[in-house]
Symmetry: C2
Subunit: 420 residues, 2 copies
């Protein structure tokens, strides 16, 4: 069931893994105490990259899709976590409304909704799917492969409450990242739990805010277990608003890229790493692949000059992946609900390189029974030699990203700003 | 992985299963609300019997052993539940002390300890085993099959606290049912969490108190989903103290048995059940097989006359098992931690009959990946035809028994009596 993985079995990653395993009880206690003070995002998925010498999250999705890629034997973990989450938020809950992306055509996405509906149904809720797509004017049944089907119903707003016809939910679960902005119908919902909160959406979220929180979390965690935090975080640098169409804009970006490459190079030298550093140029207000560029040299930025436009830009240290599956480049994606790791899979892309974004057309997904492994390191087994041990470390780093998201959402909460 | 099961696919059990599946969201909500008011026992295991026409728990063990029989893929569920339990009891916990039975020879039992230690270690605790066996005078390493080993250390009492050498636990987990009485070293522990509480031990616990609570829970649950509660509970009758050595004592018992058999017969008639009713004679203060007798006719009680002695007796309606595995009689045992079903197995006995106690020498254990199934009914699948659906029902009934244990422990708590 667990595919053959090719990871670098020597070098700093094994020391990191050993440190993580040796510190397991301290780590778990630390998380317990953190979750007493901070509320985990309802759910999230974290893209990790294992470079062989460092392991870092590169993307933390607060509206995770892809649940259909989780292996069946892992589902009970998700159900149990969902039960725990619901119990805390609204123990009296009967009804849950899921608000999905607006697509009606993407069967992969719709299968993701089927899986989410299954998880919450098994946790004991009546689940309906309420679409905010203006094209969904009436209850719409969509047949899916494997005999599944999904019914999208138009969301109804009645005074302060959201629902669908004859269905008044206690909790509304957003699976829509709101990249196009917050529709009015979702605003000022005060009587129901709307999760994640609107300010987690990409209309207000910023990558740089997450990176900043993650760096802080990683540094504190690094102190806890006695490691250089750089081994678990990608450096980042905000560039502010950059006009790709002007020489000034491009020069500014180019200097920032050179500076970041120099910082990475220095770190590589410190650890005797022979790889070529690279930097990922990201739009600060989107996790989307659109507009992303990977550069090993600032000269390559010329590609952006041609696209033009004005963008709020953040640079992220590139973390290459040394994991492969059947000769294709692979990266793990870890799924979390409430404070628990509930599963994951490998995103595999045969046509991409180790320093490229794999979240692109052509990617395939290999579900892993992380279930057995995420919580279950095998003490005494040589670091790097045990898949369960590796996965425990993945679960730890993914939870650090989730914790960073919790800090991020606290800091960006408009209600906290008002009271501050 | 899931063995072939032979269960009665017709009759009331399927109606019951259909009702349970149809009421899933109401059931889960009901449990959530119950657990807001009542604390689940830290852990327990529940023996179930599926008679084809009724499904009932026949034994609820508050010091469950046999954890080693759970399937590996289920362990993450136990770990996740242990994390949830610890978080509620003592989020700052670093150290857990397990107090086991006194045996040093029973490798099955010691393997159970290895498994418990593994679960709590993975949940992030330092775990040590503190024996109250007077023969354990120093740290004692015992090698076990499959390369496992376990170290038993003598428990140390320092003023109000229990520990072992250089180890001060926050929580003490009893895996010793205290049938021989509560040793002084365990009394008056006020600074640490001692779980389950001492009054859960067999020195003070009574089967009849549990049966009473279970009957109440079952009746409320029966109303909730609209079924005759008898379909999920065994009738019981307390007999008080019976002197097996006197005619009066045996006559008293005999009348009680006849009355119980008549009640069962009436129920069988009501449902058109052709089986022969039977009654299980149990010592009220022990879940142990010792002294148990199964009788189809009060004449069979003569066997007890020969054993003599004075016993506090409770009668339980016999629930036969119609489940078989490879031609051997089987009964499911469900494991719970905190409020969650975390696994189970089939207890199988080739040399016992459908109306006999299977918890006896010669029994074997077939771990089941209940994991995938306990929380995961398959809506739309014909009742009885789906193993996952059957197991969901098992998980529900086991949780009813756990809830009854929670009521039972509240009622028997000496602190509640004092304040009442």
């Amino acid at each position: 069931m667990v595919p053959h993985l090719v990871t670098a079995l020597t070098g700093p990653i094994n020391e990191l893994e050993q440190r993580v395993l040796d510190s397991m009880s301290a780590i778990e206690r630390w998380f317990r105490l953190e979750w007493m003070e901070h509320t985990p995002p309802f759910y999230c998925s974290v893209d990790l990259r294992n470079a062989g010498f460092k392991l870092a999250p590169v993307d933390t999705n607060l509206f995770p899709r892809g649940w259909q890629n989780l292996a069946g034997p892992m589902l009970p973990l998700a159900v149990q976590a969902a039960m725990a989450a619901i119990e805390k938020i609204c123990p009296e809950a009967r009804n849950l409304l899921i608000i999905p992306e607006n697509t009606t055509q993407n069967t992969f996405y719709l299968s993701n909704l089927v899986q989410l509906r299954r998880i919450f149904h098994m946790a004991g809720l009546n689940v309906r799917i309420g679409s905010i797509n203006p094209a969904i004017k009436k209850s719409t049944l969509i047949e899916l492969p494997h005999g599944d089907s999904i019914t999208l119903e138009p969301v109804i707003r009645l005074r302060g409450r959201l629902g669908v016809k004859d269905f008044d939910p206690c909790t509304i679960l957003l699976n829509n990242d709101l990249r196009a902005g917050v529709p009015g119908i979702l605003e000022d919902i005060n009587e129901q739990y709307l999760l994640p909160p609107l300010h987690a959406g990409w209309s207000s979220r910023r990558n740089s805010a997450h990176f900043k929180c993650y760096e802080e979390v990683a540094k504190r965690f690094g102190k806890l277990i006695g490691i250089d935090a750089w081994l678990i975080y990608p450096m980042y640098e905000t560039c502010g608003v950059v006009d790709f169409g002007t020489d000034d804009g491009m020069l500014h970006l180019s200097r920032k890229v050179d500076a970041m490459l120099a910082k990475v190079k220095k770190k590589y030298k410190e650890y005797g790493i022979k790889e070529k550093p690279f930097v990922v140029v990201k739009a600060d207000n989107s996790s989307n692949g659109m507009g992303l560029l990977t550069v090993r040299d600032s000269k390559e930025l010329v590609a952006l000059r041609q696209t033009g436009g004005v963008h709020d830009i953040v640079l992220q240290e590139g973390v290459l992946t040394h994991e492969r599956m059947h000769d294709a480049v692979a990266e793990p994606v870890v799924y979390l609900m409430d404070r628990y790791v509930v599963g994951g899979f490998y995103r595999v892309h045969a046509e991409r390189n180790v320093d490229e974004n794999l979240n692109a057309p052509g990617a395939s997904y290999v579900p892993l029974t992380f279930a057995e492994s995420m919580h279950l390191p095998q003490p005494g087994v040589r670091p790097g030699a045990s898949v369960p041990n590796r996965f425990y470390m993945y679960g730890v780093v993914a939870r650090l990203a989730m914790l960073a998201a919790s800090y991020e959402l606290e800091a960006s909460d408009p209600q906290n700003e008002e009271s501050a």
